[in-house]
């Protein structure tokens, strides 16, 4: 049989393809039939949080920080409850990372504040002596791309039914609505409102001035995203 295949390239290629496609079919398809569903209390990202997530991705934060707490005592002691599948239901793409040059950030919103992040992103060495993380000062200058975040919200609502403007069940039995602007202008306004709230806890004068003038520096969006990780 093998000798015959080696003289018939088409059937050879076909045999190779079937052999390699097999594992993917068995491993991936059943998992998709059972789509990953959100946990009660898991909400979609708001406009500013999603824009902050884009800042996180743009700077490859995931190259050094994981967002996956494994079910070990040492990890739950250090980072909080271990990760559950449903918590990632609105993560497109997933950001588990593959290397912890720095600590896990899955629940960083539980134990770090806006103030901490502001100091740390400006001068990490001052906040954590001995750290090898570089400063990210350009984030205090560059503007956040709110429009792309809004475009993504429209897309995921339309194609994947992400529940924006709909009540999402919370753990305490209440519901919460994550709003999405009806127009681009409304979305920009909503993001700015979120940004203003965050800038109240910040002390960098350039950032405060920028927000007052209606600009949102990347650092504000990134902090909104960090604070949402719980």
């Amino acid at each position: 049989m093998f000798h015959w295949l080696e003289k018939n390239p088409f059937f050879f290629a076909l045999a190779v393809f079937v052999t390699i496609a097999f594992a993917g079919l068995v491993e991936i398809v059943p998992n998709f039939a059972q789509q990953s569903r959100p946990l009660i209390g898991t909400t979609p990202y708001s406009t500013l949080e999603l824009a902050g997530r884009h800042v996180y991705i743009k700077n490859s934060c995931n190259a050094c920080h994981s967002q996956l707490i494994r079910p070990f005592k040492s990890e739950t002691d250090r980072y909080g409850d271990y990760s559950l599948s449903g918590e990632y239901a609105y993560d497109r793409p997933f950001l588990w990372g593959s290397k912890r040059t720095g600590p896990d950030l899955m629940r960083v919103g539980n134990y770090r504040t806006t103030d901490w992040h502001e100091n740390h992103m400006w001068d990490p060495e001052k906040v954590v002596p001995g750290t090898i993380m570089p400063a990210y000062r350009w984030m205090f200058v560059n503007n956040t791309d709110i429009d792309t975040a809004y475009a993504e919200m429209l897309t995921i609502e339309k194609f994947f039914g992400v529940p924006y403007n709909k009540p999402v069940p919370m753990k305490d039995g209440t519901t919460k609505i994550i709003k999405m602007g009806a127009t681009l202008n409304e979305a920009r306004m909503m993001a700015l409102e979120e940004a203003i709230t965050i800038s109240h806890d910040m002390k960098n004068q350039d950032v405060i001035d920028a927000v007052a003038l209606g600009r949102i520096p990347e650092i504000v969006a990134l902090i909104a995203y960090m604070n949402s990780l719980k």
Partner: protein, 493 residues
Amino acid sequence: MENRPLEYDYSVSKLFIYNTLFVGFIGMFVGTYIAWEMAFPSLNVIFGDGAIAEYTNFSRLRVLHTDSVIYGFVLSGVWATWYYVGQRVLKVSMAESKTLMVIGKLHFWIYFASSAVIVVSLFMGITTSKEYAEFEWPLDLGITVIWLLWGASIAGLIGLRREKTLYISLWYYIATFLAVAMLHLLNNLEIPTYYASGGIGAWSHSVSMYAGTNDALVQWWFGHNAVAFVLTTPIVAIIYYFLPKESGQAIYSYKLSLLSFWGLMFIYLWAGGHHVLFSTVPDWVQTMGSVFSVILILPSWGSAINMLLTMKGEWQQVASSPIIKFMVLGSTFYMFSTLEGPIQAIKSVNAIAHFTDWIIGHVHDGALGWVGFTIIAAIYHMIPRMFKREIYSKKLMATQFWIQTLGIVLYFTSMWIAGITQGMMWRAHDEFGNLAYSFIDTVTVLHPYFIIRAVGGTLYLIGFVMFIYNIYKTMSARQVEESELQNATPMGA
């Protein structure tokens, strides 16, 4: 006419060789630079902490390193050998078909142009974040075109072939083509948000078709097998051709080749689950990933042992020829790396190894030792035949070999120690059941190992520069070999 050997056309192969050297240097330089950044973080802001710091920061450069080495250096090397080996094992010259020449040239130039766009876009931070699939949708389409052009070249040459039976190297090239096509298309299913939202925001942005755990599952099915089918199968294709050619020995066992090839094809794709152990993907997928990773030792070692036994009775060549040295040590690193990988895929070991530098060490003993050495050896074999000249300096080649080998050893030993140290410190508890170390303790302790690793990387880079110089001097030398070269490559002192 009957007895005249075919005049093979190497013009496309040469272009890919130049690119291998060029991008190889850039990728390794960036890698070495970020290794020093981890040892001395002030290098992140070498040009100040103003606007330019964004482009010298580890986070932006890391992806440039991985992608330029994998898709620049390695793929160029693979394609350089394809446009050399393909003609020879099928007994067709590219010059016989204008169409095939056009396809080959288009293949190179579209690839070259896309690479330039990729470099710019990654510097700008345009990325999907998925490891080794960071490219946004327009580039994904470009990659698809490049891949199809390569497929057309394979199909075209096979269609015109005079030798009816496909040689082992071709099996691996075909498998590489098919598997990467499948992985690339399925992992990169994404919706461009600009078009979906009616023209809002960045034109290049897209959102993944998969969410959360599903996304992770597809990504690591891709990520693991991109390693398999870019860094393993085409390299096996290369060594199956060049080791017998250079040594003048026949492949040790056809049956072992069969077993290794079909075994590898079936088993490799299952093993992706070992990248997401203890995560939220289904437990049975994780277990399958672990189990199949261990089984994977068989076909991997099958190929490597087949290579080493091909040298049976001719081991003196390892001492006398630096090219054989590169290939034999490359195969040995393949065995080493494919034993280390399965060990790390065992769940209890993975609990310590995952997220640490041990994984980085593992990648590099495979990439520097197996992939790098095999491609370097193949180019040393091809250049004298393309330019009809002997290698400029054998001594330089031998020095390069030892410097790079030392570099690899420093690299993986330091990363083993760093990884296991950090993994053990993360999980250590004191007598009261509290965590024994804060996270920063587990970072500062790594400082000496980061320095040793950076030294190792620098040595490998120095060796690579010697390689480029040797190839350049060979190409520009005056001496010309008249006849078609047989077996052992001629080398100057």
